[in-house]
C-alpha cells in the first residue's frame, strides 16, 4: 500500500518527502481540511440568511469577510489543491515514471499553499473573492486586503510551478513506449488544466501587483481619481478566472472518465472525442471571459463575440456528457459510492450548464446579473459536478491510499444527503435570484417568498453539513479501522485497479 497505514511511517518522513504519493497525500489531506473549514463558513452564512435581520453576524462587514474567505478557500484551497493532489498521486503512475519530473519543485509548490492559506485566513479580508476596485484599492481595510493579495500571489505561483511540473512529466517523462493517444483521459485532463493555468495565471499575477501598488497609492491603474479604470481590473481578473472555471471542472471530468468505464465494465465509448472535447474546452475557455461583464456597458459587438465564445463551450461539454451516457449504455453498472457520486455530478453538471446558457445570453444576463441566480449557478458547478466527482474519486482511491475499504452504507447515505441537499440549496438560489434577491447581502427584504426560499436553502445546507459529517467520520474511521481491501480488485468489478505494489525509493 502506498500510504502503508498498517505500517505507519513517522509523520516527518511524509512531511519532508518529495515522493509524488506523499506530496499527493499532503495535497489531498490539506485540501480536505480547508474544504471542511470553508464549509463551516458556508453554514454560518446560510444560518444568517435563514431569517431576515441579524442572526449570526453583528455587522455587514463581518459577513463580507466571511463570504470572502469562504469563496477564496473553496476555490483556491479546496478545488485546485485537491485536483493537484490527485494528479500528483496518479500522473507518474499513469505515465509510468518513477516520480514527477522535478520532485523538489513539487514539494515547494505544495508547501507554498499552507503559507498562502495562512495569509488568507489570518487576514480575513472583506474584498470578495473578486477584489474588484475601486473598493479593494480605496476602502478595503488593511492589512487584511494586503494579506489576501500576497496569499493569492503565493497560491498563483504554486499553481504555476505545479502546472509546469505536470506538463513536463506528461510530455517528457512518460514511458517511451506509451504514446499520447494511449494515455488515460485523466492524464489529458491534467495536461489541459496545466496548460490553461500556464496561459491564464500570469495575467492575474500582474493584476495583483497593480492592485497592491494602487493600494499603496504609488500607482493608479484602477483608480478613477488618478485616471485609472476599474474595468481594466475586471478584464484582467476574468481573463484568468473564466479559464480557471475550466481548471476547476476539467480534472473532475477526467476523474469521471476514470470511474465510469470501470464501474460500467466497458471501455470508454469514444476516447478520441474525450480528448477533442478537452482540447476544445481549453481553447474556448479563453474566448468567454467578458461574459462576466455584460452589465458594464460593453459594446454590442463585444458582447456578441463573448456570448458566442461562451456558447462554444456547450458542444464540448455535451460531447463529454454524451460520451459518459454512451459508455454506461449496455454496461453492467455496479452502483458503488464512486459511480453514484459521478452520476449525481453529471446530473448537476447538466443543470448548471443549462443555467449557464441563460447567463451567457446577453439580454438575459441583465436579469440574473449580481443576483442570487449567479450564486446558485456557480455553486451548482462547484458543489455539484466538481465536488461530487472529487468525493467519488476519494472513495475510488481510498483502497489505494489506505489499503482499507470505506463504509459503503455510510457513503451512500452521504450521497443521498448531498444530492438532495445540493438541489435544495442551489436550485432554490436560482429562483431567489429571479425573485430579485441580490448576492452578497447580509439581510434581505422580509417578504414571504424570499423568507421561504432562504429557509429551504438553509435546510439544504444543513443536509450537506450532515453529509459532510458522515464523510469525515467515514474517512477517519475507515482509514484506521476499515476492512482490509482486496487490492487486486477492491470493488469486485473485475477491472484493473491501480498498481498498489508501486514502491519507489523515497527521495
Amino acid at each position: 500500500m502506498v500510504l502503508e497505514v498498517r505500517k505507519p511511517r513517522p509523520l516527518w518522513e511524509i512531511l519532508f518527502s518529495t515522493h509524488h504519493t506523499d506530496i499527493g497525500l499532503l495535497y489531498i489531506i490539506f485540501s480536505l481540511t480547508l474544504f471542511f473549514l470553508g464549509g463551516a463558513l458556508a453554514i454560518s452564512i446560510r444560518t444568517e440568511l435563514f431569517l431576515p435581520g441579524a442572526q449570526v453576524f453583528e455587522d455587514a462587514n463581518t459577513f463580507n469577510r466571511v463570504f470572502t474567505v469562504h469563496g477564496t478557500t473553496m476555490l483556491f484551497l479546496w478545488v485546485i489543491p485537491f485536483a493537484a493532489g490527485i494528479g500528483n498521486y496518479l500522473i507518474p503512475i499513469m505515465v509510468r515514471y518513477k516520480d514527477m519530473a522535478w520532485p523538489k519543485l513539487n514539494a515547494v509548490a505544495f508547501w507554498m499553499i499552507p503559507v498562502g492559506a495562512a495569509l488568507v485566513w489570518l487576514g480575513f479580508a472583506d474584498t470578495t473573492w473578486n477584489a474588484y476596485p475601486p473598493y479593494s484599492i480605496l476602502r478595503a481595510p488593511g492589512p487584511a486586503a494586503e494579506m489576501w493579495i500576497f496569499g493569492l500571489k503565493i497560491l498563483g505561483i504554486s499553481s504555476i510551478l505545479g502546472a509546469i511540473n505536470f506538463v513536463v512529466t506528461i510530455l517528457k517523462m512518460k514511458h517511451p513506449d506509451l504514446p499520447m493517444m494511449k494515455l488515460p483521459l485523466f492524464t489529458w485532463s491534467i495536461l489541459s488544466t496545466s496548460l490553461i493555468i500556464l496561459m491564464s495565471m500570469p495575467t492575474f499575477a500582474a493584476a495583483l501587483i497593480m492592485l497592491y501598488t494602487d493600494r499603496l497609492g504609488v500607482s493608479g491603474f484602477f483608480n478613477p481619481a488618478m485616471g485609472g479604470d476599474p474595468l481594466a481590473y475586471q478584464h484582467l481578473f476574468w481573463f484568468t478566472f473564466h479559464p480557471e472555471v475550466y481548471v476547476f471542472v476539467i480534472p473532475a471530468i477526467g476523474m469521471i472518465y476514470e470511474i465510469i468505464p470501470k464501474f460500467s465494465r466497458k471501455p470508454i465509448f469514444s476516447y478520441t472525442s474525450g480528448i477533442t472535447a478537452f482540447i476544445l474546452l481549453t481553447i474556448v475557455s479563453f474566448a468567454s471571459w467578458a461574459h462576466h461583464m455584460f452589465a458594464t456597458g460593453m459594446s454590442f459587438t463585444e458582447k456578441t463575440v463573448f456570448m458566442i465564445g461562451t456558447l462554444a463551450a456547450v458542444p464540448a461539454s455535451a460531447m463529454h456528457i454524451f460520451n459518459w451516457i454512451a459508455t454506461m449504455w449496455g454496461g453492467r453498472i455496479r452502483f458503488k459510492a464512486p459511480i453514484a457520486f459521478v452520476v449525481g455530478g453529471i446530473i448537476t453538471f447538466f443543470l448548471a450548464g443549462a443555467g449557464g446558457v441563460v447567463n451567457s445570453a446577453m439580454p438575459l444576463d441583465f436579469l440574473t446579473h449580481d443576483s442570487y441566480w449567479v450564486v446558485g449557478h456557480m455553486h451548482l458547478f462547484l458543489m455539484g459536478i466538481i465536488t461530487f466527482a472529487f468525493v467519488g474519486f476519494i472513495y475510488y482511491l481510498f483502497p489505494l491510499i489506505t489499503g482499507r475499504m470505506y463504509n459503503e452504507r455510510a457513503a451512500m447515505i452521504q450521497f443521498w444527503l448531498m444530492f438532495i441537499g445540493v438541489f435544495l440549496v442551489f436550485v432554490t438560489q436560482h429562483l431567489l435570484g429571479l425573485y430579485g434577491m441580490p448576492r452578497r447581502v447580509v439581510d434581505y427584504v422580509p417578504v414571504e417568498p424570499l423568507i421561504i426560499m432562504n429557509q429551504i436553502s438553509t435546510v439544504g445546507a444543513y443536509m450537506l453539513l450532515v453529509g459532510m459529517g458522515i464523510f469525515l467520520f467515514n474517512l477517519i474511521k475507515s482509514a484506521g479501522w476499515g476492512k482490509p481491501a482486496n487490492m487486486e480488485d477492491p470493488f469486485g468489478i473485475r477491472e484493473k485497479y491501480y498498481d498498489y505494489r508501486r514502491r519507489e525509493p523515497h527521495h
Binding site: P261, P267, P315, A318, F322, G331, F335, F350, E495
Partner: protein, 92 residues
C-alpha cells in the same frame, strides 16, 4: 443511439434558435421608448430558453434514468457471469 451527425444537427438548431431570439432583444435598453416592451421581450426570451432547456433536460435526464435502471448490475437481464467487454477497460 443518436448518431453524431444528428447530435450536431440538434445543437446547431438550438444555437440558431437561441441566437435569433437573442438578436431580437439585444438592443433592449438602447432607447427609452422601447424599454417596457423590451422587458417583456427579455422575459419572453427567458421563458423560451427555459422551455428549450427543460425539454433537452428531460431528454438527457430521462436517458440517464433509463441507463441507470436498465444497465445496473442487478437488472434481471444483467445477472449471471461477469465477462469484461472486449477492449479491456478504460485505458485501451
Amino acid at each position: 443511439m443518436v448518431s453524431y451527425s444528428a447530435l450536431v444537427l440538434i445543437l446547431v438548431l438550438i444555437a440558431v434558435l437561441t441566437l435569433l431570439g437573442v438578436n431580437s432583444a439585444a438592443f433592449a435598453q438602447e432607447t427609452t421608448e422601447r424599454y417596457l416592451s423590451a422587458r417583456i421581450e427579455i422575459w419572453a426570451l427567458f421563458y423560451r430558453l427555459m422551455v428549450v432547456a427543460f425539454v433537452i433536460g428531460a431528454v438527457v435526464m430521462g436517458t440517464m434514468t433509463y441507463v441507470i435502471w436498465r444497465f445496473r448490475e442487478s437488472h434481471p437481464k444483467n445477472r449471471g457471469d461477469i465477462t469484461p467487454a472486449a477492449g479491456g477497460g478504460a485505458h485501451h
